[in-house]
């Protein structure tokens, strides 16, 4: 726990757990539109308004949360909660961000199931369903663009993406197997191509 920022205290004294819970309920229930909106609300409430966590500490949590499996925002709420109020902060932050959003999602789904036989709703879903496919494809391209290397290596990386797509989409390969192979390949190609030429010993703390 000797990270550069880990000793840095939050600017204000730790909030009451009720105030903290209330802030997360607001974040979890108002953040229409997924990740960017949620992130924006977190910063606006926790950093700017309440000053429970410093901008620098928040940024560091965000960078680390990117390495988590699954939903990065859940990881981020845990990391930020820990910075604000330790173990209690984690429990309060994660549960009060997730539960309202989950509840609204379930009620929304239940409402949809009730009315989905109506012609108007069927028309709406007839438009929305293919659009979700388009959104998923756009997300894939976005992920790809943020992960491929520059220059000629980009061609190799996109080829890699295409092979993974074909193996699963056409040849029905195991998704887990592809992910494992991707991780191994990622490690193998990481070294010789020296992604960080400026900082060969980039493991240094500072």
């Amino acid at each position: 726990m000797k990270g550069i920022d880990s000793i840095q205290p939050a600017q204000a004294s730790p909030p009451s757990m009720l105030a903290l819970a209330w802030a997360w309920v607001a974040i979890g229930s108002q953040s229409l539109g997924g990740g960017p909106a949620t992130l924006y609300l977190m910063r606006a409430l926790l950093v700017d308004r309440h000053k429970w966590i410093t901008p620098k500490s928040f940024l560091e949590c965000w960078v680390i949360s990117k390495a988590s499996p699954g939903m990065h925002l859940v990881a981020l709420s845990g990391l930020v909660g820990e910075r604000i109020a330790g173990l209690r902060g984690i429990a309060v932050s994660v549960s009060t961000m997730v539960l309202p959003a989950a509840l609204i999602t379930v009620l929304f789904t239940a409402g949809l199931v009730e009315i989905e036989q109506q012609p108007l709703v069927q028309g709406i879903m007839r438009g929305i369903v293919p659009a979700t496919g388009g959104i998923a494809l756009a997300m894939a391209v976005y992920f790809g663009q943020t992960s491929v290397r520059k220059g000629r290596l980009a061609v190799a990386d996109w080829l890699f993406v295409a092979v993974a797509a074909l193996l699963v989409g056409v040849a029905n390969a195991s998704v887990l197997l592809i992910l494992a192979a991707s991780a191994v390949l990622g490690v193998i190609i990481a070294r010789p191509t020296a992604e960080f030429p400026k900082a060969p010993s980039s493991a240094v703390q500072e």
Partner: protein, 179 residues
Amino acid sequence: MDPLEFFLIFLKATTFTFAGLGSLPLLQQDLVHIRGWATDAQLAKAVAVGRLSPGPNGMYVVSLGYLLMGWWGALLATLGSVLPPLIILPLAPVLRRTMHVPWVNGLMRGIALGSTGLMLPVGLALALPEGFALSNARLAGNIGLAVLAFSVTRTGRMHPALVLGGAGILGVLLSFAGL
């Protein structure tokens, strides 16, 4: 559907993937292809609800859980997808030091690239739920809607709820036109 198996499928799908929709390929393989517990149309419905309701996009799994197994399904899916990201908490001090080590970085990029590839067939399956068995007119409508949603989402400037709202209106118009 065995509740424990159900929970483990969601846990697995979240543990080995990154970000909101990253779990979709694994869930599709396990739930649709291997066990037949879900259909591509249900996946699409859940993704749409996840986009339209508050919170992270990954919350689509909650909707999927509810569609497949009611309130219990929603609870199990929520637990299965909230627990894995928390593994980062004990790892955070180590990560602060090793995140920029080339091989750690390469590992994460490899997984990200693999996930990108895995997402492509899922996106196609959602856009064309019945594959190419659709009538030509419907097929053209679906492809048009998917391409439209793809292009306005890609730039990241338009709010996803607006994109889906627009798609809903277009869907109603297409239905009235008999497409």
